[in-house]
Amino acid sequence: MTITTDSSRDLPGREAVAANLETFIRERFQVKPDDAFFGRGVNLWEEGYVDSAGIVEVISHLETTWGVRIPDDALFDPRFGTIEGMSETIEELRATSA
């Protein structure tokens, strides 16, 4: 699987993070294009889009792609269940480290 991230690195916005993450999750976790339940606000763990092994892959993808280290309190924050929430977290972390 190839996820292009170089150009995204230069885009600090939440939208870029969310778009990149959505693409990664759709491809890696077999989300069908016409899955009406799927969206950036859906809880990925509770709705079975990402399993326990997959969580590690998601964290690794976010940290590698955006050059941040996600602290434990952010990992266990309820926001860290959705693409929207994760994107907010990454945006905040990048703003803090800038």
Binding site: M1, F29, F37, E47, G48, Y49, D51, G54
Partner: protein
């Protein structure tokens, strides 16, 4: 729950053993030329679309994709099954309502064990023992065996004759305060009868009124084999306390790859039945399906079933056997044709057929007397050879050639 020794299960183990003995004997006698119309192993080549899906899955494998998956299966394929059932059954299932199993046999075991465990909890809580399972017969051969092995009591309720439809009044009479589950196969194997919505709703009324709130286990392993544009109605869609048992292998014609599931309706979510089923998989030592088949599932679900060859062979088998004077089940579905054994003795007829070179299944395996089952999954040539022999043994005097 006490362990039930095999020695006390002979009533349920015996018929299959008898068929296996017969098969082995006649395979040797015929030097391997016995026409096997008993077991539904397809002679047709693997569907190219299915082959392509399997190859694409393998090409995509990376990392730990083929390592252990959790009891109950990996989350992603469970979600795909839940979505598929949402579309086909109109049930708002989630991934954790679905428990993946190596085929329908273990799915049925897990469903029964979950019902038994919950009933045992009820019994321990002070209600009387809830340990009976009502099974509509003729049924899949080992359903009563599984029930008895779990320390439960199989209560067999025959379908209406000659229609083969559900005898809801008889089921109502069989249900007691001790009934923990009812097993229905839709469409019926071996009869091929598709139960209609009215009879299923009547059954649901009976179950709703039952004081023991039994689990309805809807075995839908043959639901892909519904022909002629008939509408499949799931028993689980009309009664909330239901679990669906399914095997993908039959529709994909690769039964040996062992991929199935039991899905509990959302009404059980608060009671944690699916979670209990996952724990029972662990407690009973059931593995999940292979990681590879779980990964392939999403692609395979996209492929429409082309079972037209089976439908055509089934129609041909019905026509030939009817012309030969056999009294056949009115069922029009599944990969089987079911008929009354000339002379009335199922095993004697099957022995006679095997002596002539064709193996079919005596209805004793399905816990009914006097019938036999023909599988139509063999190639056209083998099926014709088998039908030629069965025509000779039929009540009518017309020869196979005269029928053509």
């Amino acid at each position: 729950m006490a362990i039930v020794p095999l020695s006390s299960l002979d009533r349920w183990l015996g018929p299959q053993r008898e068929l296996d003995r017969l098969r082995e004997h006649h395979l040797m006698r015929s030097r391997g030329q016995l026409i096997d119309l008993a077991y539904p192993n397809p002679d047709d080549a693997l569907d190219p679309a299915i082959r392509a899906a399997l190859e694409a899955t393998l090409a995509d494998v990376e990392g730990k994709d083929l390592q252990y998956t959790p009891y109950g299966g990996a989350t992603v394929p469970r979600r795909h099954v839940a979505r598929s059932l949402a579309a086909s059954h109109g049930l708002s299932l989630r991934y954790d309502d679905v428990v993946l199993t190596p085929g329908a046999m273990s799915a049925l075991q897990v469903a029964l064990a979950t019902a038994a465990d919950s009933a045992a909890c009820d019994s321990a809580a002070g209600t009387s023992a809830v340990n009976e399972v009502v099974i509509v017969t003729p049924c899949w051969l080992d359903t009563p065996l599984y029930v008895a092995r779990l320390g439960l009591e199989p209560v067999l309720v025959p379908v209406e004759r000659p229609s083969g439809t559900l005898d809801v009044d008889a089921i109502a009479r069989a249900i007691t305060d001790r009934t923990c589950a009812v097993v229905v196969v839709q469409p019926g194997n071996p009869t091929g009868v598709l139960y209609d919505e009215a009879s299923l709703r009547s059954l649901a009324d009976v179950l709703t009124a039952a004081r023991s709130s039994p689990l309805l286990i809807s075995d839908e392993s043959h639901s892909a084999y519904v022909f002629g544009g008939a509408t499949f109605v799931s028993p689980a869609s009309v009664y909330p306390r239901s679990a669906i048992v399914y095997s993908f292998g039959k529709a994909w014609r690769m039964q040996g790859q062992r991929l199935g599931y039991v899905a509990f309706r959302p009404e059980f979510r608060d009671q944690g039945w699916a979670a209990k089923a996952v724990l029972l998989c662990r407690a009973m030592g059931y593995a999940t399906p292979t990681a590879f088949m779980q990964r392939a599932l999403a692609r395979l679900l996209e492929i429409p079933h082309d079972l037209s060859a089976i439908e055509r062979r089934r129609a041909r088998c019905v026509r030939v056997l009817a012309d030969a004077g056999y009294e056949l089940s009115s069922g029009r579905h599944t990969m089987f044709v079911y008929g009354r054994a000339p002379g009335g003795d199922a095993l004697a007829f099957v022995e006679e057929a095997a002596n002539e070179g064709v193996l079919v299944v005596p209805s004793t395996l399905f816990h009914e007397t006097g019938h036999f089952r023909v599988s139509v999954t063999a190639s056209d040539d083998l099926l014709d050879t088998g039908l030629r022999i069965l025509t000779r043994l039929g009540p009518a005097t017309t020869s196979f050639e005269e029928q053509q």
